[in-house]
Symmetry: C2
Subunit: 201 residues, 2 copies
């Protein structure tokens, strides 16, 4: 049985469903909790969203999210200017940064190429990336886009830009995840891992 | 490796973690998505929260969330005035309403008694419930509070109010969930279901 809630509550539920990973049921749970006993938390969230939208802007060098002209990573001159990692979102940047392995700089695209959805090079910032590729000292581009059709199309586009400039191009190794059970790995990943098998060391 | 994000983003992540069921990792994912490519959605959510906080108030009869003086349920005179179901939150009311089984009215407490946290009868609206119990035609109170220590304490308190007025008191049947596999049922629930076993019909 579908229960009708008041218009403001229904509107809030529909808005919360736009959050990644939030379905109709959890949006309803969130909305009723926020309006029921957690009105202060609700006001805090609205305020935090408003403040972040106001303060946060893209880094002028890498398009990562920041509140100054350049982000903390671009401002860090201990990093390696010879390597540039291209990602499709600030979240992908953070995910790679968490590994602590990469010490170069980034370029953050606004998503991936998707001709079928009418998303072309200019929509995701590839013209800005092209300018960035002409900065001196750049030796390697690491393609860290998703393993999807869109990710592959975007990687292909960037590969051409790199080849025109004779910049070395690498991409993330594909294979079975560390510490995972083999039975839990999907067969496409496992197939790639088999084709790309390496000498046992 | 912990990556420092800008202050507004960190603040937004901490705020989003207050949503039920949202941990640090999903709050980060939400914040970066909202600020990255979904700024319009972010603004919509902030606006929806603000509007709901402004418009929504407790129903003057049952304390359910609504935008008028009384909620749709209390305004529905086809419902059965003889039965009153007591719940601890608007979410619990909606969950019961979804079953389509109950056609009486509700009273929504603001949570459950918890002496250890200093939450007493007045904090959760039991004085208002007491007034409601004196309304004419009331024949049965259905206790639909959680099966927890706090739920039991609250049920016990309401039971005394009902006994003083000789109102019939019932509570939800406990047992194994419908359609569930026996092996997946926790042993306390299963124990209750065994003790409360019924003739096979
Ligand atoms: Zn930057
Ligand atoms: Zn009501």
């Amino acid at each position: 049985m579908q229960v009708r809630l008041s218009p403001s509550i229904e509107h809030l539920i529909r808005s919360l469903q736009k959050l990644p990973g939030v379905g109709q049921k959890s949006a309803q749970r969130m909305a009723l909790r926020l309006l029921g006993q957690r009105q202060q938390e609700a006001a805090d969230i609205a305020l935090a969203i408003g403040r972040a939208l106001e303060n946060v802007r893209p880094c002028s060098r890498c398009r990562n999210l920041c509140e100054d002209d350049v982000c903390q990573i671009c401002a860090d001159d201990s990093r390696d200017i010879s390597a540039l990692c291209v990602v499709a979102s600030p979240l992908d940047l953070i995910t790679i940064e968490h590994t602590g392995i990469f010490r170069g700089f980034y370029f953050v695209l606004q998503g991936l190429l998707s001709p079928i959805d009418g998303i072309g090079p200019d929509d995701i910032g590839l013209a800005d990336l092209e300018k960035r590729l002409d900065s001196p000292g750049l030796d390697e581009i690491i393609l860290a886009t998703d393993s999807t059709v869109e990710g592959a199309a975007t990687a292909h586009f960037i590969a051409e830009l790199a080849q025109q400039r004779s910049i070395r191009l690498t991409t993330l190794a594909q294979g079975v995840p560390m510490g995972g059970q083999l039975g839990a790995v999907d067969s496409i990943t496992l197939g790639h891992a088999l084709s790309g098998r390496k000498p046992y060391a």
